[in-house]
């Protein structure tokens, strides 16, 4: 078991003929992921590593059974692409594209939420379920086994790189992952850590979750409240990076666009305090997560 993606995940890639999208398509296919169709307006009849390309999602959905979309179109076209996926009844949408204007992101997320579709991203490296050999997005590249082996830990991280590194640390501790998810580096994203923990809570295979956190947002504060309310009862191990940013002037952004401390909100020290109060095992140093994992 895993969350969000499994053997039943049947994917269409919007913007499949782009340089990066086609390379990632190959890596996903090689891993075993079922990519059913690609959408690029005007390119009907072409194929990308054997995946047929359609002009519209509607045409692809008439021909095939599709339940998931990966969005790889340029920033200016993302809003339209999300609406196209939602209107064709897809209930899981992963937005890889970064640098989307914030007004567009607001509309996309609202539109999807209203239709009951789950969005991961924008600005995500994707997610992976190594047991079923499904990976979405560039996460893991052409060598996913290096960092991602099947096991019983869930991984949540804003940073794609740290999704991989953290999964590798889990492997180093002699364990593996159910699903590893890069939630995306933007301040506005479709799936927050809290909403993912709710899914991990339901997943029988997942024993514990490891969360890599950064400054900014209220994600960790929300997680702490969620745990206190009884929404997540499994072990949560967390590491909060970027404590040094608290010493810098407010409004300074390091790393991801979402990693910004504003109006006193988003400070790592407050996140750590609140997580600990909720019973989360917060590692002082990142390497300590290995000890926490060994204690499980």
């Amino acid at each position: 078991m895993a969350i969000l993606i499994n053997k039943e995940t049947k994917i269409a890639i919007q913007g499949i003929t782009g340089r990066e999208a086609s390379m990632v398509t190959k890596h996903m296919l090689d891993y075993g992921t079922k990519i059913i169709a690609g959408i690029t307006p005007g390119k009907f009849g072409e194929n990308v590593y054997g995946v047929p390309v359609y002009n519209t999602m509607k045409e692809a959905c008439i021909k095939h059974e599709i339940n998931t979309s990966i969005i790889y179109v340029p920033p200016a076209f993302v809003m339209d692409a999300v609406m196209e996926a939602v209107d064709n009844n897809l209930k899981f949408i992963v937005i890889i594209t970064e640098n989307i204007p914030i007004h567009d992101t607001v509309k996309c997320l609202y539109y999807a939420k209203k239709a009951g579709a789950i969005v991961v991203g924008p600005n995500t490296a994707g997610l992976i379920n190594p047991e079923d050999r499904v990976k979405i997005g560039p996460l893991g590249g052409d060598n996913a086994e290096r960092c991602f082996v099947p096991g019983s830990i869930g991984v949540i991280s804003r940073s794609g790189g740290m999704t991989a590194e953290t999964s590798w640390m889990i492997k180093r501790a002699g364990k593996g992952v159910t699903t590893s998810i890069g939630i995306g580096g933007d301040p506005l994203i479709g799936s927050s850590p809290k909403s993912l923990l709710a899914l991990f809570e339901q997943d029988k295979k997942t024993e514990a979750v490891l969360m890599f956190s950064e400054p900014g947002t209220r994600f960790e504060e929300d997680v702490a409240d969620f745990i206190k309310e009884g929404g997540f009862t499994k072990t949560l191990i967390a590491y909060v990076a970027g404590r040094f940013t608290e010493q810098l002037p407010e409004g300074t952004v390091f790393g991801h666009a979402g990693a910004i401390i504003e109006g006193g909100l988003g400070k790592p020290s407050i996140k750590i305090k609140m997580l600990r109060e909720a019973g989360v095992k917060v590692a002082e140093n990142y390497d300590n997560i290995i000890e926490f994992l060994e204690e499980l």
Binding site: P75, A76, N99, I100, P101, I102, H103, V106, K107, L109, Y110, Y111, P138, L139, G140, G141, D142, N143, A144, R146, C147, S157, R158, S159, G160, G161, M162, A164, E165, W168, M169, R172, G185, P187, L188, F212, E214, P215, T217, R218, Y239, A241, G242, R243, F244, T245, L248, P249, G251, T252, V253, F254, G255, H256, A259, G263, N285, Y286, D287
Partner: protein
């Protein structure tokens, strides 16, 4: 976020028929006097620099006549505040204030929708407003797919106890402000204060407008006026930061290299990945070594970009070593990285025996990368150690130098 100077933002809202006081922009005290004379009556003088809370910083002053305006303009012009030199001031008619109100439109990051905050108390900042008059503030979420229907604007002000012509004027202004917020991809549009004059007219006395950097491609009209701060912080770029910006922009679509200079610091910090860089900076500080800069690079940068970044980092005076570290990557070519770093080190005449350099990088082509790095006498690790283990080894190398 990019800010617009107040003369520009006032011009934009005035175009949408939102009432503003008469103003002129001047660059000398004498021009200020003339402008004040033309406008007549009492005058407000405002420093035109893109920073917030100007009133608190003493950059908004009141003059009783033209001569007084000249004196105040002379005080402000030529000063530098938060790195911004005051080259121009705004000379504006002082409104005959009866009441001060507040209205702000922004995006609520938790609710993920636009939010309108309005208050029948204004002229003080929102933090203080929330503390002192929580009952006089209204917060309204807007459906982003529909926008702000006119009746909502009326509901907001009426709900705060407003009526008659004041209600009508304020509702129309809010309605138009929301259009401006959408039209220019604003991240914030704040009017503080919105003024009801003794003559019974509602006008925008001060406005703050921030525009989404990611939407500039469709904001060509205002692009020339956007005051883009350093991407990292609200201050102008240092020479080294500018150097890295040009390195990055020389090849904007392949990989990224970002650099922020820190005060003092012992070692050059060249780390990859947004999350990994945050972690590694903390790790070094915890171990007692302060990095001389912050960096993130990634997305498989070409050799030239790596070289340019490494060269800039190494060139900061006083640094004692270089730490190159990143999370295990699936796309970064370690051989390119190795070539770029080795070239920068050689050209900078740094001897790895006296200037410790440690690389921890695992990714594509790492066997070749390892070879290139080790042949240059530089210490290399792949995924045989963790990132924090690498940081601690780096600190040991620096501690040896301290002895």
């Amino acid at each position: 976020m990019s800010r617009l100077l107040e003369n520009i933002s006032k011009g934009l809202i005035s175009k949408e028929e939102i009432p503003i006081p008469n103003f002129q922009v001047v660059a000398t005290p004498e021009e200020a006097r003339k402008a004040a004379q033309e406008i007549g009556g009492e005058i407000v003088v405002k420093a035109l620099i893109p920073i917030g809370k100007r009133k608190k910083a003493g950059l908004v002053k009141f003059a009783k006549d033209a001569e007084d305006t000249k004196i105040i303009a002379a005080e402000l012009l030529g000063k530098t505040v938060q790195f911004y030199p005051i080259n121009k001031v705004l000379i504006e008619k002082k409104l005959n204030i009866k009441e001060e109100l507040f209205v702000s439109i922004t995006i609520d990051k938790n609710k993920q929708v636009p939010i309108i905050i309005a208050s029948v108390v204004g002229g003080i900042d929102i933090e203080e407003l929330s503390r002192q008059y929580p009952e006089k503030i209204s917060k309204t979420m807007v459906n982003p797919l529909i926008g702000l229907p006119k009746y909502k604007s009326r509901e907001i002000w009426s709900g705060l106890g407003m009526t008659s012509t004041k209600l009508k004027q304020c509702s129309t202004i809010l309605d138009r402000l929301y259009q401006v917020f959408l039209k220019y991809d604003c991240t914030i549009l704040e009017v503080n204060p919105l003024v009801l004059t003794k003559e019974g007219i509602v006008k925008v006395a001060a406005v703050v407008m921030g525009v989404d950097d990611l939407a500039i491609f469709r904001q060509k009209e205002i692009e020339p006026y956007l005051e883009v701060g350093s991407e990292r912080s609200w201050k102008p770029l240092t020479d080294l930061e500018k150097q890295v910006v040009s390195v990055n922009e020389a090849d904007p679509y392949r990989g990224t290299a970002r650099y922020t200079e820190m005060d003092n610091g012992e070692i050059g910090f060249m780390c990859g990945g947004g999350g990994a860089s945050l972690l590694l900076f903390d790790a070094l500080l915890n171990l007692g070594v302060k990095p001389a800069n912050y960096t993130e690079f990634g997305g498989n940068p070409p050799e030239k970009k790596v070289y340019g970044l490494a060269k800039a980092i190494i060139s900061k005076p006083g640094i004692k070593g270089l730490f190159v570290c990143g999370n295990i990557t699936s796309n970064t070519q370690v051989d390119k990285l190795a070539r770029g770093i080795v070239r920068a080190v050689k050209e900078s005449n740094k001897d790895p025996k006296k200037f410790p350099i440690l690389v921890r990088y695992a990714g594509v082509n790492e066997a070749i990368g390892k070879q290139i790095i080790e042949e240059a006498g530089i210490e290399y690790y792949g995924d045989n150690i963790t990132m924090e283990e690498a940081a601690s080894l780096m600190v040991k190398r620096i501690e040896v130098l301290r002895k």
